[in-house]
């Protein structure tokens, strides 16, 4: 797919309306790349002027900071902020709650001040404004979808309703786990856990959470975070339910139901 690069826009003197911050997971993880492409499809669908940083983008430093490596975090933040400020970036949208949290809450005091929007809020606004046109009878109509709250979106930033509003637009039957919203159980990836083995315990956190999601009987587990997606996908595989239950990002669900697309092969 054709995706505009910020460096090219800048060279041409163009100012995109938003910068799409892809994040490391969305860039490199094969599963999360599908989320990235789905989100780009939506950006193309609404015809917004956007750009990505391409290989100028760097890790925000989130896993380093949460693990305790403040030096590495500060180095990453310094470089990213310089880049973003050089491009005069004002609005950033990202599909990763960890990138979202750090860009929104932790970069400002280091000199990086931007309007940072998570894609769940962005999609909700687009749907609300009628800028996203969905198919008449969508593929998820009446289907059971259970939403898993990402910690860095929910508790960390109080965003509980936006992703649910997005799912409601699909005309699906939205169901909840007992531990939802501010009581949502973590998928097990946060705080740099994604990058190491779990400590000794009775079970893995993602297994515990996946079982709770599967118990609802939903055919789709929706998430709004690439890390949650990975953890829950692994959990579903562990339960050998990958044929019956799909873990999907809200952007993938919306992209699959876009009015001007037959089932997009690109996803």
């Amino acid at each position: 797919m054709q995706v505009p690069l910020m460096s090219e826009c800048f060279a041409k003197g163009e100012e995109p309306e938003i910068l799409f911050w892809v994040g490391c997971s969305g860039s490199f993880d094969q599963r999360a790349q599908r989320i990235t492409r789905a989100f780009v499809l939506i950006l193309q669908h609404i015809g917004i002027r956007y750009a990505i940083l391409g290989n100028e983008e760097m890790c925000t430093g989130d896993p380093a900071r949460r693990a305790g490596n403040e030096f590495l975090f500060q180095m990453m933040a310094y470089q990213n902020i310089r880049l973003l400020n050089n491009y005069h970036i004002r609005r950033i949208v990202t599909a990763c709650p960890h990138c979202f949290n750090i860009l929104k809450n932790e970069y400002p005091e280091l000199g990086g001040n931007y309007e940072v929007i998570h894609h769940s809020v962005f999609l909700q606004q687009l749907l609300h404004e009628g800028r996203i046109r969905l198919k008449e009878s969508g593929s998820f109509k009446g289907k059971k979808i259970v939403y898993h709250d990402s910690c860095y979106l929910g508790r960390a930033n109080g965003i509980y309703e936006a992703p649910r509003k997005v799912l409601e637009a699909l005309d699906a039957e939205l169901i909840e786990m007992k531990r939802c919203r501010s009581k949502g159980l973590c998928c097990g990836a946060g705080g740099a856990q994604m990058f190491k083995e779990e400590e000794k315990g009775t079970t893995r956190i993602n297994f515990e959470r996946t079982r709770e999601a599967l118990d609802t009987g939903a055919g789709i587990v929706a998430s709004a975070c690439p890390f949650c997606n990975t953890m829950l996908t692994d959990g579903v595989k562990h339960e050998e339910k990958e044929d019956q239950v799909k873990v999907m990002d809200i952007a993938e669900l919306i992209a699959a139901d876009l009015a001007d697309l037959s089932v997009p092969g690109i996803l």
């Binding site: 995706v3 159980l185 973590c186 946060g190 315990g201």
Partner: protein, 435 residues
């Protein structure tokens, strides 16, 4: 007169002892690093009203919240009665407020008696929940030993205090009916609930009843003074510190981590040496190893914790059998702070005792298990953040000792060299376009 002198001695000793305790607690908290929590007083007062006075977060679990509200309302409102009791004790009067308040007085005492009964009921239910029902957060090993006894002592003490209160009211009103001694001077009539005790007390002679009334009255007020001085040794300190702790609630989004200004500057100077002031010395210490390295806010948290375990019950690591328990983090911090406080009092300055919060109280394994999901922070009814302490200790592990699991070291080096936590070439960052 003798009773007045005894009362003044008792009250004076209790208040003096407590103020000494309070000073120690204040000193211990101020061992922590300075941190600014002065901004936004308006929102802070609101939080104090909502979270401490209004117990907003308790109502995440409505039934327990209601029972807790009984005890809490009992505590706050019965204090009006304690005021009368204290004045009676000081002035040698009996039911000082009865005359001036007239009919209102009876209504008030009836209200207090209702609360006393509600407190009694709630405490019995809580004892049952703690000791008979297998509620995980109460059966956890975090509470083995003193913490579990402490919780039970408090509930039993409250039950006893309420029984004493109802008994001296019942004796008093019975004696009024018999027109006995000074009880006849303030005719209040029977009170709504204590009159139920009359059948039990009717058989006693008036002299015996008067002795009973005095004994219960004295035990009740002495019990309250004793309880006041028990607080500093107990998790029950939360009845006082919940208020400042709610006032100093962190107002930033839960996801925001404390910035390390010193490291930020180090990095800026490294990247732009021209900005580095001459003779700038690098930071001396990174993160927290002991209670001095935590902020006073963390230490206030530790004293405010009532070990209810809502944090631990919500912790994904703990739920899945890992060692981490956010409640234990707070209990450890308080225990270590008490120990360091004693050390400082004994030796004027802190004399190294070969121990520290990290390792000797909180292990690496516990710290490693945290997913930073903020469930513990969200659950705490009195705005404690175990997560902040976990993060500070993690910083020390990594930056002071380079102690990280191998996978984390690999992740660090990937972030540093490939600008992503995985080992991919940065040139591949937008390869997702090409699928």
């Amino acid at each position: 007169m003798l009773q007045q002198i005894a009362f003044i001695l008792l009250a004076g000793t209790a208040v003096l002892l407590f103020s000494l305790h309070a000073r120690r607690i204040r000193k211990n908290i101020l061992m922590g690093r300075d941190e600014d929590y002065s901004e936004n007083a308006g929102r802070r007062w609101r939080n104090l009203l909502l979270l401490a006075l209004g117990q907003k977060k308790m109502f995440r679990n409505p039934l327990v919240a209601l029972l807790h509200l009984f005890i809490y309302a009992g505590f706050i409102i019965i204090n009006i009665e304690v005021l009368e009791i204290s004045l009676d004790g000081l002035l040698g009067t009996h039911r000082l407020f009865a005359g001036p308040l007239g009919q209102l007085y009876k209504g008030l005492i009836n209200g207090f008696e209702f609360l006393a009964l509600a407190v009694l009921f709630a405490c019995v239910v809580f004892l049952f929940r703690r000791n008979i029902l297998k509620i995980r957060r109460f059966f956890s090993h975090d509470l083995d030993g003193w913490p579990r006894s402490d919780a039970n002592y408090i509930l039993i003490a409250e039950i006893l205090l309420m029984i004493l209160f109802l008994t001296f009211n019942a004796s008093d009103t019975l004696l009024q009916g018999r027109n006995y001694g000074r009880y006849a001077s303030n005719l209040t009539g029977n009170f709504a609930f204590s009159q139920w005790l009359h059948p039990l007390l009717k058989g006693f002679s008036s002299k015996q009843l008067a002795d009973l009334e005095r004994t219960c009255w004295w035990l009740h007020i002495a019990g309250i003074f004793a309880f006041l001085n028990y607080l500093p040794y107990s998790k029950h300190l939360h009845i006082l510190l919940a208020f400042p702790n709610a006032y100093f609630t962190r107002l930033l989004p839960e996801g925001k981590m404390r910035n390390m200004k010193s490291v930020q500057q180090e990095v800026v100077y490294a990247m732009q040496p021209e900005h580095a002031p001459a003779g700038a010395s690098p930071p001396v210490k990174f993160g927290a190893r002991d209670v001095f390295d935590l902020s006073w806010r963390n230490l206030l948290d530790a004293y405010s914790c009532t070990e209810c375990g809502r944090c631990t019950a919500a912790c994904p690591a703990n739920i899945t059998g890992k060692k981490l328990s956010p409640r234990k983090i707070m209990m450890d911090t308080r225990d270590r702070m008490e120990e360091v406080g004693k050390n400082v009092r004994r030796n004027k300055i802190f004399k190294p005792d070969g121990k520290q919060l990290l390792y000797d109280y909180i292990s690496e394994e516990e710290l490693r298990a945290c997913t930073s999901c903020n469930a513990c922070v969200e659950e705490c009814p009195v705005s404690i953040s175990p997560l902040e302490i976990i993060f500070e200790l993690r910083r020390s592990l990594i930056m002071e000792e380079s102690k990280a699991p191998q996978e984390w070291n690999a992740m660090f080096s990937n972030v540093e060299n490939n600008f992503a936590p995985w080992k991919f070439s940065p040139d591949e960052r937008d390869a997702w376009k090409n699928a």
